[in-house]
Symmetry: C2
Subunit: 359 residues, 2 copies
């Protein structure tokens, strides 16, 4: 087991990364108060809920559960309300803990619920997908979708502790494993060409779910994100680099309707568009773009999206949070493995990069 | 005009207190970004909305408005959603400002919306009731009600600036003026016997809405609260003293149904119960209780509540946020003008204090 500490002053917390983790022992020092609400979904509950209920009850805590339907399309205010209902029906107080057992959607919803219930209670994360292990474990971003945009309503909420157990990835569908790898690749592309080389060496082992190699990828990804977040918790600057591929990706997801493509799949194609535009801007080479497409393909991820009318694609991009004073900013690559956030890009070249990477 | 600064480090902000304040001039340095959403209600909008729209537009900002129905019963998740809808339909970004123009309900809802929209945007408060001027101006508590409890869902969100204009109190119904005076009296009872004497001298002028005397009462109340909040922003300790009368009051409000009694009216009777219990505990004298009832009566506030079955009264108290690990804590008076938070009270005496102050 490896331990990574996310350094956020008095909100410093550990991420435990390994296989067959022992939740009772690992959670014991981090659960304050006597009440724990485990939030999970209908897919994860039959697999892992009993294990965590037993572990937390063994700590002498009162445990209640809230099982939501599985899917991004339920990440809305109506289903968020179900968590509040469960907390109040269980009679839980402001010293309770909300434990998220599931992927990114569960983490986002349970995290926002914990930030808002009684104006803030404790939060523990057990991410059960590769995507949520590398993405949601660090950064404290929580929230829900609105019909007019993704993650439009939420809070910054840091957990007390995160348990990232590679054993749980054995039950993950292949598409979701790949979607997680998209975010792993993102860390390489945005800031670490050496990690890109490591991924080029180990991609087969990752796709084959070698637990030690997966754990190393999760550790490296979380360490990258933790360093960036520690510098910029509220996303005033550097943190926006983490959105490499996301502005294009959000447009793809929004057009197709949430849940049609997985978030990681949309980000994968979005990163290809960002690389393509970076090349058109003269910043990276055609070989760099090919290398980007190649590692994404080897993770069984799409490098092109379906045909989307350009005006609609642009309209969805304009709804992105990286629009500042009406000015779209993009995360692009100044070099392979070195991203920047910029509004200094050519709009015509951007349109070409979008159109060039549609099926 | 007086200016009070609430000292919260990098979230320090001013409260401007006076009559016929000039919003254009006062708001100019504090509105970041180019977009301002003014949230108000159907009662306040015809009186003051145009004035603020004009002032903010004169600053060159894009202004949109969201007019909610008036009343505590609309402080729910459905009506909160209307603010998010308005923000997204106006195309507002993460650098926008939400301006609350109204009483406590509007401040709570607009504040929570500003804390949650895009995980946090800017917030400005223009409280238009005495209650919200002395209570919501300081402390950053925002939120909405749940069918199972008041203010169960929310956030701590500090404003950039607060404008408390006494001229706006001329349109306030008498009951609401008195409800505001309940919170003013609370500051005297919990921590300042000299302020209690000042109120005993000036209660007629306050009820007659003398703007200079009102401004002084608002200034003193906010200064008290600001000092307490600066010491204890997240309500870990001292801040709980501000709940004098509130645990009893919440039970009254909950039983009668939100909106039947005003919050300040319930707190007024709740303070009488707290004083009564403090006397039964042997901490304050019968004269102190009479003085408490007298100043509350002179503010045209109720000192008894309707008959409420004791078991139901206690059940509602148990839902209060001051229950820690299942243990009810109460704010009581160790002396007149000196409150404490304690779980060391006699349950039988508490029941007597509740029953003794019902009509």
């Amino acid at each position: 087991m490896q331990t990574l500490h996310v350094e956020l002053g008095d909100r410093r917390y550990p991420i435990f990364i390994g296989s067959d983790l022992q939740p009772q022992e690992l959670l014991a020092p981090y659960i304050k108060g006597q009440q724990v609400m485990i939030v999970t979904n209908t897919t994860v509950a039959p697999l892992y809920l009993n294990h965590y209920v037993t572990a937390v009850e063994a700590l002498g805590k009162k445990v209640a559960t809230c099982i939501l339907p599985d899917g991004e399309k339920y990440k809305d205010i109506q289903h968020l309300t179900l968590i509040f209902d469960a907390l109040l029906e269980a009679g839980f107080n402001r010293d309770c803990t909300v434990l998220a057992l599931g992927g990114g959607v569960i983490g986002d919803m349970a995290g926002f619920a914990s930030a808002s219930f009684q104006r803030g209670v404790y939060f523990v994360q057990v991410p059960t997908t590769l995507l949520s292990q590398v993405d949601s474990s660090v950064g404290g971003k929580t929230g829900i979708n609105h019909p007019l945009g993704k993650n439009m309503i939420g809070a910054f909420q840091q957990p007390q502790v995160v348990l990232a157990d590679m054993s749980q990835l054995n039950t993950l569908p292949e598409r979701e494993l790949s979607a997680g790898l998209a975010e792993v690749i993102k860390y390489a592309l945005l800031g670490d060409v050496e990690f890109l080389e490591w991924l080029e060496t180990h991609m087969e082992a990752l796709v084959a779910r070698d637990p030690a190699v997966l754990a190393e990828a999760v550790y490296r990804s979380c360490a990258h994100k933790a360093r960036i977040v520690a510098n910029d918790e509220k996303e005033q600057g550097e943190r926006a680099l983490l959105n490499l591929g996301h502005t294009f990706g959000h447009a793809i997801e929004s057009y197709l309707g949430y849940g049609e493509w997985l978030h990681g799949e949309a980000v994968a194609t979005g990163m290809v568009m960002a690389a393509d535009l970076s090349q058109r801007m003269g910043w990276i080479s055609a070989e760099d773009v090919e290398r980007t497409k190649n590692i994404i393909s080897r993770a069984n991820l799409p490098i092109v999206c379906p045909q989307i009318p350009l005006d609609q694609f642009l309209a969805y991009m304009a709804h992105d949070k990286k629009v500042l004073n009406g000015q779209l900013r993009l995360v692009l690559m100044k070099q392979l493995g070195q991203a920047i956030i910029t509004k200094e890009f050519d709009l015509e070249l951007m349109k070409q990069a979008i159109l060039a990477n549609q099926a």
